[in-house]
């Protein structure tokens, strides 16, 4: 297994709503926590990649962190912004341009469903004006079709939400920390059939920073380096069914998640059976269900029994979204993918506290999906 880039420091600002802090403030706090975790100073950082969709230009953070002259590049790539920052940092070290740097993501969104800039997304104004162009509609329509094809039940969707809020209650960084029963999930307002309010995550706030180093120097900074074995971002192909699509081709393509997953496993030289736990994009509970199969962890339709049997719980055969996922953490776009990696580093270090996956997991997987049909995957190992 290639293990030539390591994560040597992690920092996070609590996800949720923070009226007194800007999104960038939360990013700065995450950076300082990552530096403290690695025993490093800001002036040690040789480069940075930073991403935020709605909370300012990340490179302006240097006025708070210190004007050291480092190479700081902003990345913006929709819902894969965090994954793209990590991809860029990984390859900067792989290419031996620098030895030590940082990937940063933060965001702060207005309340309620994401407001889509249709023109900015290459779509006509009519699309949003007429009441389409809502990401929530896509997720409702995708899981509705999937339930029809593969026999997933609405109770399984409620179980996914209940698990998320139960895990979130055990995560001091999570936004939603109150467990909810399956009944409460099912009885909440129907937002986009068949998905209820508590089956959806909300746009939110937060920040995450990850410090990366050449693996052969990682022990200078930590006695528990976590190796980044794969980081991949893929966009959509003709025929896939994606968010914000006024039409879909008749021919079928499995979508960017399948492509990103296959490429990541190839890069890491392992397969889905070798993964001990996963953080999978759960914009809504049905997305977690569908992404289990799209990422290769089961066949389509097998999720129904897996979830009903509790296999994706923290103590189950294949834990999924151990930190509560997007459902319990919310979705600050720039930080969301890095939040998943943060959680996997904690789990692989054995530092996840009361939500620690048992039996000393050795490998962990992350997956983000979002507008306009983009997926990012990472594979970590210790």
């Amino acid at each position: 297994m290639r293990d030539d880039v390591a994560i040597v420091g992690i920092g996070m600002h609590e996800f949720g709503r923070h009226d007194d802090l800007s999104g960038m403030d939360q990013g700065v706090i995450a950076v300082r926590r990552a530096l403290a975790d690695a025993g490093l100073k800001w002036e040690d950082m040789q480069f940075a990649f930073g991403g935020s969709a709605a909370a300012g230009a990340p490179d302006t953070m240097v006025s708070q962190l210190g004007l050291t002259g480092l190479q700081f590049i902003n990345v913006a790539n929709g819902c894969a912004t965090g994954g793209s920052a990590l991809f860029s940092a990984y390859n900067t070290i792989k290419a031996e341009v620098f030895d030590l740097g940082i990937a940063i993501g933060f965001d702060k969104h207005e309340r309620g469903a994401f407001r889509v800039n249709t023109r900015g997304a290459g779509l006509g104004d009519w699309y949003g004006a007429s009441g389409m162009a809502l990401t929530t509609q896509f997720f409702g329509m995708k899981i509705n079709r999937y339930m029809h094809e593969y026999g997933i039940t609405q109770n399984t969707l409620a179980k996914v939400s209940a698990k998320a809020f139960r895990n979130g209650a055990q995560n001091p960084m999570a936004w939603r920390r109150k467990p909810l029963s399956e009944e409460e999930v099912l009885e909440s307002a129907m937002l986009s059939y068949p998905l209820t309010q508590y089956m959806f995550c909300s746009p939110g706030e937060g920040g995450v920073a990850l410090i990366l180093a050449r693996a052969d120097k990682a022990h200078n900074y930590t006695d528990r380096p976590i190796f980044l074995n794969a980081t991949v971002v893929r966009s959509r192909r003709f025929g896939s069914f994606e968010v914000l699509a006024p039409s879909i081709a008749l021919e079928h393509n499995a979508g960017p998640t399948v492509d990103a997953s296959k490429a990541a496993f190839e890069m890491a030289g392992i397969g889905p059976d070798d993964i001990d736990l996963a953080q999978l994009q759960d914009t809504e509970s049905g997305a977690e269900v569908m992404h289990m199969a799209e990422n290769g962890f089961c066949e389509h339709g097998e999720q129904e029994q897996m979830i009903q049997n509790g296999e994706t719980e923290i103590g189950g055969r294949f834990p999924v979204n151990t930190d509560g996922g997007c459902l319990a953490n919310g979705e600050p776009i720039g930080a969301s993918g890095l939040r998943q990696v943060f959680e996997n580093v904690l789990q692989l270090r054995g530092d996840a506290g009361i939500r620690q996956v048992p039996n000393e997991p050795k490998t962990a997987y992350t997956h983000v999906y979002g507008a306009p049909g983009i997926s990012g995957v990472t594979i970590l190992s210790r």
């Binding site: 407001r115 949003g128 329509m141 129907m190 008749l250």
Partner: protein, 128 residues
């Protein structure tokens, strides 16, 4: 593709022509918009007193494309994947000058026609 565009997402070519799409198809998937969309971009009624949930779905036009559209039906009990649908034009809102703003939608075939079917056709594009 719908709507028309200058480039082909399948072959990467840049030569396309406009063709008229059929008016009937089958419901491929659907949902119901249960809360008022943000305005802008939405131009319909958003205040809770006037907002009415509406259906949204993809209608598969045989041999052509799956088109996303509003549906005239918003009751989950009256919608099912595979049902026959046909194009209609429905009122969306009234603009500042009092003019009725229309949009395209699909209704179940055989639904009691409460809206007048327009002669307008949806426009799409295909490879040259």
């Amino acid at each position: 593709m719908f709507p028309t565009q200058s480039g082909c997402p399948k072959c990467t070519g840049s030569s396309t022509e406009t063709v008229e799409l059929g008016r009937r198809g089958t419901l491929w998937t659907w949902t119901v918009q249960g809360f008022p969309p943000k305005a802008p971009p939405f131009i319909g009624a958003t205040d809770p007193a006037h907002f009415q949930p509406f259906g949204v779905g993809y209608v598969e036009l045989p041999g052509e494309v799956k088109v996303e559209a509003r549906l005239t039906v918003a009751d989950p009990d009256q919608l099912s994947i595979g049902m026959e649908m046909e194009l209609v034009v429905i009122p969306l809102t009234t603009d500042a000058d009092g003019n009725e703003v229309m949009t395209f939608a699909f209704r179940p075939v055989g639904e009691a026609a409460s809206q007048e079917t327009s002669d307008q056709e949806s426009k799409g594009s295909a490879n040259a």
